[in-house]
Subunit: 409 residues, 2 copies
């Protein structure tokens, strides 16, 4: 367990301000560039970014060159002892009696990039409220919750190539939907978001060998905000029997900052109560959830506020299940938690649920919304509230561009 | 269209022998090593491998260094003009009036490696016979063929980290299956193969832009044999509603040799007749199938012989559909055709179909088999028969190791 960091303050005043996402207790990792310089690795503090490659160059951090890369995979692959050493060193450098000459850049002057090269992307389905609500809409109340749902963290492999960083515009997709007489070719009419937390795998596993839940917990480097954009009309037509495919491939937006497991440790808590016993390979020694406020906005208006602790399956359980067949995990694998939804409509992580499949539009700045319109911007946020500080994730936004169809159809 | 290569012969006698998979008309790419040397790229000819890195070093091929890599991705990324130039040059060097001092190694002395670093793996479901047969077993005859099946090439994202090269042993997986009262923890009891052809994507596409079918055809570098090992009992319990997951993640075996699109060009033909009109984005200018005999063996016994021309959706159509939402494709993406099954039992690409879900065991060397037993070896083969030569894929084998469960369950 980490030592208690309550009361710790930085020489950087902005880091100590109330409501700041990036106090000295956080130190999330990202990749940034300034001007035409190549992207390199950094850590957010207050309103600035610690330039980790420059720290290496000046001998402030042990130099292994991994921070000069345009993604964090090489650093993450060094493993937990190195993660802990760098965190301890940065904490010392940023503390009130630290090094005020530390190389930093203003966050406002930096461009943020995808923090990792995503090895593979898997999306789970671990909120009971979400699974039930969506199940009712797709299959009716009798078949809403699949029979295996309380026995295993079900998920599907998503597409890594369409994972983009916060701020990247997302194009409304074209596709097939169910029409009166066969399929219809159309721009998506039921475009949705999914509010999720993404876990980043920080260690490889061996093919043919399962992963224990506790071992899985130790393989997690950190978490990002994740919006799994979803084309609900395309999904309804395509998804049986092989699962969602193009309805989920238009783009997945992740936040630029990886909040480490170490920073979230003080907020560890239990998740949703279990309906039934689970098989031993999924049983956790200690709870794998966090008391983390999470929500989303549309065009700046608050739409949903819920908590990650409503989830039924933790990231460690998801990793243990992902490897149960002997499937190897890799550094840089990204695992979406599944949409995070509480029980009330203003706690739902997708418009599909919030509007009951579009039947009950919600008002956004005085305009009705059943699904996302062109030009709408969705923002995700999350933070864990400590005593006198909060661990935040920074913004995770994406704006929808109109569909284009420059090919004959 | 390539010039007619019928009648072309090599100075390497073994390449001209009847039934040889690797005549001068083929020239498939792979990655090999000898002794403790690092893996590099090669081309199969007769019973030998052309050492492409050595050819570069000797000035026999234009040197760009890509053939010294331990995978073909860098070469493939150079694009079609380079593919064509190297093929033309190798054809000249290997022809009867070619260069008899070409650096080659005996195939028997070489170890073959995964030919590409798999970017992402997608598995389709494009044989009508297979989709119907499996649909009957999983969902009954009324719901056998999903309603969208004749309108789009349905597929799911698989796991790239568990793709291995021919010869790699495959561990029987542990997992959850449906039991009398809830889930049961067990070693897989219904382990199966899937006979497929894998297309290798040779060009990136741009996120947010669709890919035309003809453009998609031009993005294909070549094909490998592909066995998508499947745990049917795990699949039946897990696969609704998000599709197959751990049942398909125990391993996917691919052949060591990538047979190029150029080598298969003379065998291009139509696929299965269509039930209905398809949307324009999936319509092909010219047929995207090949007259390619393909089959599998168990412990050396011939079990199935069918043809790739039974398929309903081509790789080009699958790529066009894969990108319809704007999802970008990447060099090194591997697309499984889906199980290739003809109409008769001895033309089926999976035991699930051949034995009607295990109800009608088949005899293998006098022993009954419903599914794959520990120690069984599955081999895939494929070849296109030309006049006086054949384009073969070489072996694609995998043997099943017993399940281990070294953790308490």
């Amino acid at each position: 367990m980490p030592k208690d960091q309550t009361g710790l303050r930085s020489w950087l005043a902005a880091a100590n301000e109330e409501g700041c996402d990036f106090p000295i207790q956080n130190l999330p990792y990202g990749v940034f560039s300034v001007g035409d310089a190549a992207p390199t690795c950094g850590v957010a503090i207050g309103d600035r970014i610690v330039d980790l490659a420059a720290c290496e160059a000046r001998g402030l951090l042990e130099a292994d060159g991994t921070f000069s890369a345009p993604q964090l995979n090489d650093f993450i692959a060094l493993g937990r002892p190195r993660w802990e050493a760098v965190r301890a060193r940065l904490t010392a450098l940023l503390a009130e009696d630290g090094d005020r000459d530390l190389p930093t850049v203003a966050m406002s002057a930096a461009r943020l990039h995808l923090p990792i090269r995503v090895s593979e992307f898997t999306d789970f389905y671990a909120s009971r409220n979400h699974a039930f609500n969506v199940g009712v809409l797709f299959r009716g109340p009798e078949n809403a919750l699949p029979p295996q749902w309380t026995h295993m963290p079900i998920g599907y492999n998503g597409r890594a190539s369409s994972v983009v960083v916060s701020g990247t515009p997302i194009r409304r997709p074209m596709g097939q939907v169910r029409g009166e007489a066969g399929p219809e070719w159309t721009a998506c009419r039921r475009l949705d978001l999914e509010l999720e937390l993404g876990a980043i795998v920080g260690a490889d596993s061996v093919m043919g060998q399962r992963i224990g839940v506790d071992e899985a917990e130790g393989m997690i480097f950190g978490y990002v905000l994740l919006n799994d954009w979803s084309a609900r009309d395309i999904q309804a037509w395509e998804y049986q029997p092989l699962g969602p495919f193009q309805s989920k491939a238009l783009g997945t937006t992740i936040g630029p900052w990886i909040v480490t497991q170490a920073a979230l440790e003080p907020f560890r808590c239990a998740g949703a109560p279990r309906d039934n016993e689970i098989l031993p390979y999924l049983r956790e020694e200690r709870p794998g959830f966090y008391d983390l406020t999470i929500g989303w906005t549309m065009n700046g208006q608050q739409m949903c506020r819920t908590n990650y602790n409503v989830m039924y399956w933790s990231s460690a359980q998801q990793i243990a299940h992902h490897g149960v067949s002997g499937c190897p995990m890799r550094v840089g694998d990204l695992l979406g938690s599944g949409t995070i939804s509480g029980p009330a409509p203003d706690q739902t992580g997708a418009l599909l649920e919030m509007t009951e499949g579009g039947k009950r539009p919600v008002m956004v700045h005085g305009e009705p919304r059943s699904f996302i319109e062109d030009g709408d911007e969705i923002g995700l946020y999350a933070h864990a509230q400590g005593q006198g500080y909060r661990i935040g994730f920074g913004p995770c936004t994406g704006r929808i561009l109109p569909a284009t169809d420059d090919r004959p159809a």
